[in-house]
């Protein structure tokens, strides 16, 4: 039995409070900004770029996706040919641009909060899928880890409601299609308005969260009931097997739709048919990583002696394998769009490569190359500090992955990982730790009634 230590309680609450304060300050600050402040800021930026750059800025706004240097050359050309036109529209353009930047700066705290909220929610949903698979496959190696998984999935309900709540509260700060003004002038979004509708979006979200939470509730209930049941009575395990199989079917549909709704629709013109899988790979690897980290933590406290090297080895194998799987999907999505080069599809990657070069390519190093090289050797998968090191890098990399999915559509090139982003991470990290370790303290750490528990305890590779 694990008791939620006072120190950990204080740490998680402190993280939460620091996060709230930091995020709140940046929220208030960004809303205090006026159009004049932004104009001053832009003028300062322009003076850094040199005198000519003001034309560059203006044209980047118009063409939006051209390379900065190209745009400058382009601007100079347009400027010389349509001299009079450009001058008469210049002041209008400057105003429109400043307003655009102001919107992006207003969006930033919302987007930062949303990215962090989704990241921590995605961990618990990924663990829920992993847990369901263990039951449906009647896996013999993993039952010693079930209580850790059940504790992490306790966050699905609050985390899911928070993400949906932020999405609805932020509205057009994150989802541009929630702004009727934008939809009125956009035929592509109008064509999708049957799906992209705020009420329907909220109802869908609630159905998904309800389904996941119901599975989680009953599965946990049967798992605890199995502990108290007679040795020859496996009825609770069988029920768990059945609902897990049903849940996995429900999950793969709803997870896909959730990823279109909650993430892909931030770029409402763009779509990718494997986006659901891509988000799934991200949540799966993050979830498995967190199972490994929490298990190592509890083992180091001497509370999970029944977890041996082979269990850690298998978790690390999953971290390695799903990292490769994530890369496979990331590349499949990228290569087809890069090859076909259709303007409405390729803008998605053009913005990311131009404005988000470091996070976009850095993510490949964090999520693929680093775990690939570190976890390749069989022996290293059994060394706890190696798993922890690789795990922290993987989690950071998948935060950046979510960041790259949301930020380009909301703040454009005005991104930075600064106070709002870090505070939002701390806020949800505190909440996540508090809820997960609270749930851990509610039941014994060994699911002793599971019919596979002996096999799991003796598991060796």
């Amino acid at each position: 039995m694990y008791t939620f230590s006072k120190r950990l309680k204080i740490v998680s609450l402190a993280l939460f409070v620091i996060g709230v304060i930091g995020w709140g300050t940046s929220y208030v600050e960004s809303h205090g900004l006026t159009l004049d402040d932004v104009k001053v800021l832009l003028a300062e930026e322009n003076s850094h770029h040199g005198a000519d750059a003001s034309h560059g800025e203006e044209t980047t706004e118009a063409t939006h996706h051209d390379v900065q240097t190209d745009a400058e050359a382009h601007a100079a050309m347009i400027h010389s040919t349509h001299d009079s036109d450009a001058h008469s529209e210049e002041s209008h353009h400057d105003d429109a641009h400043a307003e655009h930047v102001l919107h992006q700066m207003h969006n930033r705290p919302y987007a930062a909060l949303y990215v962090a909220a989704f990241f921590f929610f995605m961990i618990s949903l990924g663990v829920l899928a992993f847990y369901g698979i263990q039951y449906a496959a009647q896996a013999g190696w993993s039952p010693v880890l079930f209580r850790v998984m059940e504790a992490i999935t306790y966050y699905v309900l609050p985390g899911g409601l928070i993400v949906l709540g932020i999405a609805l509260w932020a509205g057009d700060h994150i989802f541009i299609w929630m702004d009727p003004e934008v939809v009125a002038h956009d035929e592509l979004i109008q064509a999708k308005s049957g799906w992209l509708d705020k009420t329907w979006f909220a109802i869908r979200g609630l159905i998904f969260i309800a389904g996941w939470s119901l599975y989680r509730y009953f599965s946990r209930k049967f798992s605890l009931a199995q502990d108290l049941a007679d040795v020859n009575d496996n009825s609770n395990f069988k029920k768990n097997f059945r609902i897990s199989a049903a849940f996995l079917v429900f999950y793969i549909y709803t997870e896909s739709i959730m990823s279109w709704d909650w993430i892909m629709s931030v770029d409402p013109h763009w779509f990718s048919t494997l986006f659901g899988w891509y988000v799934f790979a991200s949540m799966f690897v993050s979830g498995i990583t967190v199972i490994a980290l929490i298990t190592i933590y509890l083992k180091s406290k001497g509370l999970m002696e029944f977890v041996n090297d082979s269990h850690l080895h298998d978790l690390a194998k999953f971290m390695f394998a799903i990292s490769v799987f994530w890369t496979y999907l990331w590349f499949s999505q990228f290569m087809l769009i890069w090859y076909a080069n259709i303007p409405e599809e390729v803008t998605y990657f053009v913005t990311r490569i131009e404005d988000y070069n470091l996070p976009f390519f850095g993510m490949i190093i964090l999520n693929f190359i680093f775990p690939f090289l570190v976890l390749m050797n069989s022996d290293y998968k059994r060394v706890p500090w190696f798993i922890v090191m690789a795990g922290i890098v993987i989690l950071f990399g998948h935060y950046i992955d979510v960041f790259n999915m949301i930020m380009p559509a909301t703040v454009g090139d005005r991104w930075f990982i600064g106070v709002p982003e870090i505070s939002a991470i701390l806020l949800f990290l505190g909440l996540f730790l508090f809820i997960v370790f609270y749930a851990l303290s509610k039941a014994p750490l060994l699911a002793k009634g599971n019919p596979f528990i002996k096999e799991s305890e003796h598991f060796h590779y």
């Binding site: 090859y339 076909a340 080069n341």
Partner: protein
């Protein structure tokens, strides 16, 4: 080297064999070789064999495959007959790399897999036209055979092996390879 004496003990069950291996190792005898009809889980650990180094070889073969793919595609598609890939005629390997990644991946796997199998065969002293080293054809069916070199301790070994559950124990003069 001339001929040397070895003792052959045959077993009919993998669990009995595994227990016998542990008993023999406890008595500090060297086990030369074991012939089994199928892989026996945990036998390598019981015999005290060193872990395989084939993974290191596989990694190096994979690197070779990756380099071969890169050099080959660069020569074929960029230098020798420059191609306009995906309507983006940049004629640069790095800018066209997404198109080459599948080939780089496949050749990495191809080299690692094939060279690893060949290495395994050579390391196991198996090559075309080689006579089998198997001392008893029954080990390809339902018998397990343990081979222990004899150093004037025939009686002791015989007693130990019979006790450990061997169905047959005999001494053989073995030709050196």
């Amino acid at each position: 080297m001339g001929s040397s004496k070895v003792i052959h003990a045959l077993y009919t069950d993998d669990d009995v064999l595994l227990a016998a291996v542990k008993a023999v190792k406890n008595e500090k005898h060297h086990i030369e070789e074991i012939f089994t009809p199928f892989p026996v889980h945990g036998l390598d650990k019981a015999m005290g064999l060193e872990p395989t180094r084939i993974a290191i070889a596989a990694f190096m073969y994979g690197c070779v495959g990756l380099i071969v793919a890169t050099v080959m595609m660069n020569y074929i598609m960029i230098e020798d007959w420059p191609q306009n890939i995906g309507g983006k005629p940049s004629f640069s390997y790095i800018e066209n790399m997404p198109a080459f990644v599948p080939i780089m991946f496949e050749l990495t796997v191809f080299f690692a897999a094939h060279l690893m199998v060949i290495t395994f065969y050579l390391r196991s002293r198996m090559w075309p036209f080689k006579n089998a080293e198997n001392p008893d054809p029954r080990t390809t069916d339902d018998h397990f055979l343990m081979e222990i070199p004899v150093h004037d301790n025939e009686k002791e070994l015989k007693a130990l092996l019979t006790k450990s559950g061997a169905v047959e124990v005999h001494i053989v003069d073995k030709e050196a390879h």
